[in-house]
């Protein structure tokens, strides 16, 4: 089966996010009452697996080995079956 894994990598609490801070300032300047902006990266990875469980396990491995650094990043995975 073909799957798409949406892997969202965001900073763990307490880590600086200069892009979010700069975006917040810009939105405030435009007149919005914005208190904070969190910026994360979303990787949509397309691949084949036998079951949704196997797809999830593969995405988990990809996150640990490449996409996220456990010292500073959190990640969430959602798996969608492709037609």
């Amino acid at each position: 089966m073909k799957y798409a894994a949406k892997i969202e990598v965001s900073l763990r609490p307490g880590h600086r996010n200069p892009e979010g801070e700069t975006t917040t300032r810009s939105l405030v300047e435009l007149g919005y009452k914005v208190t904070a902006v969190e910026v994360s990266k979303v990787y949509t990875v397309f691949f084949e697996a036998a079951t949704p469980m196997e797809a999830n396990a593969k995405a988990e491995e990809m996150s640990k080995r490449l996409l996220a650094n456990p010292t500073k990043d959190n990640y969430t995975i959602s798996i969608v079956e492709q037609k």
Partner: protein, 274 residues
């Protein structure tokens, strides 16, 4: 082994940009240094023909995903066996700036319990944020373990330049204290940011330019043969690279960066003459 018997492999990929200066520094001290594109190394698989491996500074693979991680995974996937043999034989590996980030992402540093499968630390966004390109003072705090600082007495202050946006060394918050204890106990701390009087920065900017934990600028592994540092010794090799060179009247020939390269040459030449 004489200095001119020492073969240095400076491994580069797209985005590496400090390879030429690094080669020149080693060549100046008599070693045979070569800049090798990783695709050539993968074809030839002759890493073990070299005595020193250097991962130079730059922005390997555009710093995509995270600084250094793509190069690190490329190395482990394509040359993992050779790297493991290189490490097991105690051959020296140096990572400068982006090279340090690569060593951390690979799991070669701090490698508290051998080479780790996943990164045990992160070199993350500077605090205060922003790319910092400036000269810093560094205190050499290693007590003899690190093969790359044997020519710098413990406690001595040196000056090197930094140029990075992600040089803040952090460990997982919940393990920070335990890891620091091990780094100190195993003599793995090498360079710490300090002020011009040699007093460690204690986290304060601008002496600590990036908010790095415990003011750490460079660490080595337990065996002392793998060394990573954010500052650039290759940019402080000659007197004319120093910030105050116009007022020095050329009284000395080299900058403090030379001490890092000289140390490893000394270590290898002494080792083989024993």
């Amino acid at each position: 082994m004489n200095a001119d018997d020492i073969k240095v492999c400076i491994l580069r990929v797209g985005g590496t940009n400090c390879d030429a200066e690094t080669k020149r520094a080693f060549t100046e001290l008599g070693a045979q240094a070569e800049v090798i594109q990783i695709s050539d190394m993968i074809k030839l698989r002759n890493l073990l023909d070299y005595n020193i491996l250097v991962l130079p500074g730059g922005f390997s693979y555009g710093d995509y995903v995270r600084s250094g991680v793509i190069f690190a995974r490329h190395l482990s996937a394509q040359l993992g066996k050779e790297i493991q043999s290189f490490v097991d034989e105690g051959r020296p590996i140096l990572g400068i700036c982006n090279g340090f980030q690569i060593l951390v992402e690979y799991g070669l540093l701090p490698s508290l319990d051998g080479v780790s499968e996943y990164a045990q630390a992160a070199l993350t966004t500077n605090e205060p944020s922003g790319f910092k390109c400036k000269w810093v003072y560094l205190k050499q705090e290693n007590h003899g373990k690190c093969a790359f600082t044997t020519a710098i007495p413990t406690g001595k202050t040196i000056q090197l330049p930094i140029a990075h946006g992600e040089g803040r060394l952090l460990f997982p918050k919940e393990k920070e204290d335990a890891i620091l204890e091990r780094l100190i106990d195993e003599d793995m701390i090498v360079l710490r940011y300090c002020n011009n009087n040699g007093e460690v920065a204690e986290g304060k900017y601008p002496a600590n330019p990036n908010g790095s934990f415990y003011d750490i600028a460079g660490i080595c592994n337990k065996e002392g043969n793998i060394f990573g540092l954010m500052p650039h010794p290759e940019r402080a090799m000659y007197w004319w690279q120093l910030p105050n060179w116009t007022s020095t009247n050329q009284k000395f020939q080299y900058g403090d960066g030379k001490l890092i390269f000289q140390s490893i040459i000394n270590t290898l030449t002494k080792k083989s003459s024993r």
